[in-house]
Amino acid sequence: MPVRIQPEVFDAGAELVKLTNGRPDIGASVTFVGQVREMSSGNSLHTMTLEHYPAMAQAELERIESEAKGRFDIQDVEIIHRFGDLSPGDPIVLVIATSASRQPAFDAANFIMDFLKTNAPFWKKEHAADGSHWVDAKSSDDAATQRWQK
């Protein structure tokens, strides 16, 4: 399954093996893993809750995957995004892009993460010692997505 949204932890290494096993046409794989950082906005972060809009998150990630396949000379893409309660160090998101040579795989993984950040309907709520708050969207993420739109 190229797009999975799940509360469970994932194993990036195992996913990479599954995606590339018996595939001599693949010469390059780029794996990106996003994790929960301990320090966020100056407060010590204890846990985080990821809320999502299930039907749209699945559809949007599939649209991003399809767009990446149209733009870059890649073989396969796998995207896993978690939701629910997470702790510092926990993996949140996995993107694997495979291609015959390295550049399309790097570009596709980068592209997918930029669009995922600005378009996929997930919201982070941080729970710290001083209370809980919703994470604000970053303009730098919008700028990262904008640069692909040319």
């Binding site: 996003g34 990821l50 809320e51 999502h52 809009y53 039907a55 749209m56 998150a57 559809a59 949007e60 995004h81 949140i92 998101v93 993460m113 995922l116 950040k117 600005t118 378009n119 996929a120 309907p121 997930f122 919201w123 982070k124 709520k125 919703w134 994470v135 604000d136 969207a137």
Partner: protein, 86 residues
């Protein structure tokens, strides 16, 4: 097809509005997502307050939309703050 629309709220907007989902008949005179936002704010003080000062993103039937996007009975309209996943 249902004559109702489904309105979904997420994250801080869900908390401010006090509900995650409501089913309602397509209000008279509402033909776009922007019309619906105005209608909701005009008919409910809590929503008017919740919408104020917030950058509200809109999706119609699980696709990104704008205030100009047409809506019809049976549609699922989601309202939410800018996304922060990944």
């Amino acid at each position: 097809m249902s004559s109702d629309i489904t309105v979904l709220y997420f994250a801080r907007l869900r908390e401010a509005v006090g509900t995650s989902e409501e089913l309602m008949p397509l209000p008279h005179g509402v033909s776009t997502a922007g019309d619906l936002l105005r209608h909701l704010a005009d008919t409910d003080e809590q929503k008017k307050f919740a919408f104020e000062g917030l950058d509200i993103k809109i999706a119609v039937n699980q696709e990104q939309a704008t205030p100009d996007t047409a809506i019809a009975a049976g549609d699922e309209i989601a309202l939410f703050p800018p996304v922060t996943g990944g």
